[in-house]
Symmetry: C2
């Protein structure tokens, strides 16, 4: 089969997302709301699996990261300190003729609402000067809509971590270097949401702020600060690591994590920001990008941010953000490595990556094309389909329900008795279910005792069918989805 073109591929993916209940437009029955997306039953499970894995990888499998779950609305001073109130803006112009408002840097690509054949940049409407438009959603807390009651929906989860740094430090028995992680919603009033769920106005982030010693302190303690050379093993933290090696460590850890959910290195691009692109306080930043059908786009940014954030909060709140390092016998504001990932864009990457058209035999043994979502079993929304071969044989149905009830406490099961068995397999292929268990007459012992209480276990990707004793199903499936 010819590879579909990128646009066609995206259309097919968007259509499958709706058809199978991965992603719906928010408020669709009211015509939708631009930049907001809902996750249907399969999407919600997929997202849960990804979040869980990220959380457990960092809080449970490591010893040096603890979790936080902070509010979306915080004290507005936080966004003053972080710089978001003053600089988190896009430039806008108003057209005095048509009363439209447009992004000043996109006038050449935006059609004029009155004469759509022309772009806003070349139409005759009289435009205002460009003004800054803040991307934070604003609201008021309390009954009075006054300046002092203004609050914002957080545009990132990171600042909550900085604001609670001292509290977490006090309770968690952690010492620098250590990290705080958080998963949660964030909001940006994008002028131009686009690329399906990729750039939305409401989205979810998974962020870690990993606090490290300033290089001078490392130098003092270890005698020297380790430098990165190609191929250096950065999997096990060492006492002589400064920001550069900690940054490399996190890049490697995060790439390994992506590999662990099926996004191999070949599906990723790495954009190391050149010095002139970096924020003034940043020492390095790499974007881990996925090769989407619409181009390589960022999944996660990993930045070495120095002590900028904690120092800003120290300045604005008037309270010390310093850490006393018992080993170094000195106080300092810790520096930060920030791996910051977008959940929704990752989900989109996983869906794009899983999408596959190939050929599989139908009930008559003829090859037919199928759509199959090749999710890694770890993140697949449903782990196993359970099917009685025929619906109208009570013994098959009873046995199949027994198997369903055996598996259900351990993993997500989809039980399906309707339609030809090939059709049922195909439905689970589209849902990305990695395993199918079929209960047939052999299971009932009708072809002799040796196959009694065995089932066929079908593999979504290889289409191979193995005969497995029912009592071995749970450990075998748990092993394969680990």
């Amino acid at each position: 089969m010819a590879e579909p073109k990128p646009n066609e591929l995206m259309e097919k993916i968007v259509s499958l997302c709706k058809r199978r209940g991965f992603i719906f437009q928010s408020s669709e029955i009211y015509g939708g709301i631009n930049g907001f997306w809902d996750y249907g039953p399969l999407g919600a499970e997929l997202k849960r699996n990804v979040r869980d894995l990220w959380w457990r990888t960092h809080t449970q499998r490591r010893e040096d990261v603890v979790g936080l779950d902070a509010t979306i609305i915080m004290h507005p001073a936080i966004w003053k300190a972080s710089g978001h109130v003053d600089t988190f803006t896009d430039p806008m112009v108003d057209c005095k003729t048509c009363k439209g408002r447009f992004r000043a840097d996109q006038l050449g690509e935006t059609p004029c609402p009155q004469r759509p054949s022309k772009m806003v940049g070349e139409c005759h409407g009289e435009k205002t000067e460009a003004r800054k438009f803040n991307l934070m959603f604003k609201t008021y807390v309390g009954p009075v809509e006054s300046e002092e009651n203004v609050a914002y929906l957080r545009p990132e989860t990171a600042q909550a971590i900085f604001a609670q740094f001292k509290n977490v430090l006090d309770v968690s028995r952690q010492k620098v270097p250590f990290g705080i992680c958080q998963i949660g919603k964030a909001f940006r009033n994008e002028i131009n949401p686009r690329n399906f769920t990729f750039r939305s106005r409401e989205f979810e982030q998974m962020e870690i702020e990993f606090f490290i010693r300033p290089d001078e302190v490392v130098q003092k303690l270890a005698g020297s600060v380790g430098a990165y050379t190609d191929g250096l093993d950065v999997s096990t933290p060492q006492p002589n690591w400064g920001w550069e090696l900690w940054h490399r460590h996190w890049v490697e850890e995060r790439v390994k994590w992506y590999e662990g959910i099926g996004l191999g290195r070949d599906t990723l691009d790495f954009h190391w920001q050149p010095k002139e692109e970096l924020a003034h306080y940043a020492k390095a930043c790499v974007d881990i990008q996925y090769k989407f059908p619409f181009g390589s786009q960022e999944l996660e940014g990993i930045a070495a941010r120095g002590d900028f954030d904690l120092s800003q909060h120290q300045k604005f709140c008037g309270k010390s953000m310093e850490y006393f390092d018992e080993e170094a016998k000195t106080k300092y504001v810790p520096h930060v490595i920030e791996p910051s990932a977008g959940v929704d864009r990752l989900i989109l990457a996983l869906i794009c990556d899983a999408y596959c058209e190939d050929q599989a035999p139908n009930d008559k043994g003829e090859l037919e094309s199928r759509v199959v979502m090749k999710f890694h079993p770890r993140i697949a929304p449903i782990k196993v389909g359970v099917f009685p071969l025929l619906k109208n044989k009570p013994e098959l149905v009873a046995k199949a329900r027994e198997v369903r009830d055996l598996l259900r406490p351990h993993l997500t099961v989809f039980y399906d008795e309707a339609g030809a068995i090939g059709r049922r397999y195909r439905r689970q292929d589209e849902a990305g279910t990695p395993f199918g268990v079929t209960i047939d007459f052999d299971t009932l012992g009708e072809k002799g005792p040796e196959l009694k209480d065995t089932v066929t276990l079908r593999d979504r990707d290889t289409l191979k069918q193995d005969r497995i004793p029912i009592r071995e199903l749970v450990p075998l499936l748990l092993e394969r989805i680990r």
Copy 2:
């Protein structure tokens, strides 16, 4: 020991929450923000465990409920249809003298800002008529703050489920009766947030909308509609169930769920709303309350809401919300049973319920009072503490780290080598960790081969210590936290 008084008890609980990192005030370094609370490392894990259990109980262990994960900001017409724009209000009066704004129904309990010795209701300030104040947080989507761009932060998660009812029905291969569940944040601009985290402005809900046949359709199909009688078993759905038995079923299911995380029936109160309290469309509503130190307060409301919500959306969006029932060969708007629980108040109930002061022996064997959080092992933030008996014996430390690494892939572990062993136990008691594993000289085989590679397993509640082979730890602990 004398039981502490309710106020003292609440103070102790609030203090422990901060001290151990269950709950912090949001934006504390900036003086806080009234009605917003963050969860620290232990609180975040506790909340995750509760959410996970709720989700799996409904989507994985049952076959008739699927999940949804919708946006917080939705099309504003949804809140017009639901009635929130017009009626989700508290009455407010302004004082023309002091410029304060007050809840009209609380004037007798609110001190006057200018003369705090008097209540607002009896001071001489000139008051406006009472006006309605809407409790929804308002914002604007897009660059223009105009009426047409108004949007609200959802005041409940339920409406997203109704809005996506048709989409979910189309993709999920479910038939009425079935349910859609969702966990997520909701926001209410409360005039008077109170009782610690109990009434907050930003909170999380776990809601199920369970769609059922109207009683007439049940009557037609089953010949009669089942009626509830005391003690009737409502655990297994039956074809003749109308709204009353489905409502009873969900009350029972939810109470069983609370029991399963440690909140026994004796800790709960049930408030069956009398007819005159019910909304005009509601057929029944019961509040499941927990006996908080500050009084019995609602954890979850379970309402039989008829077809009100779907019918309202049908009216406002102009699209049919009808379901074609193949078995009954008829169309109808499904009726709804709504179990709606608050996550934060449940977490507070679990913390209050777990809080316990008793006596335990210290390192010298003398009884000392301790604070212990007796969380059910299923929801405990940390499942097991791992301790080398002494920090300065490298063999003990090495072995303890081995045990830690053995357990860590399977459950949350806290490894602690600092301080006397009794102190370390006590710290985990306060965190609510149900099990402690200590590696001592017996473990190393120093007292003979029969105890080699065994550890002591300490039970938080009974203080009993058992000798367990290391190789049996994982299955044993997994069994006990199930």
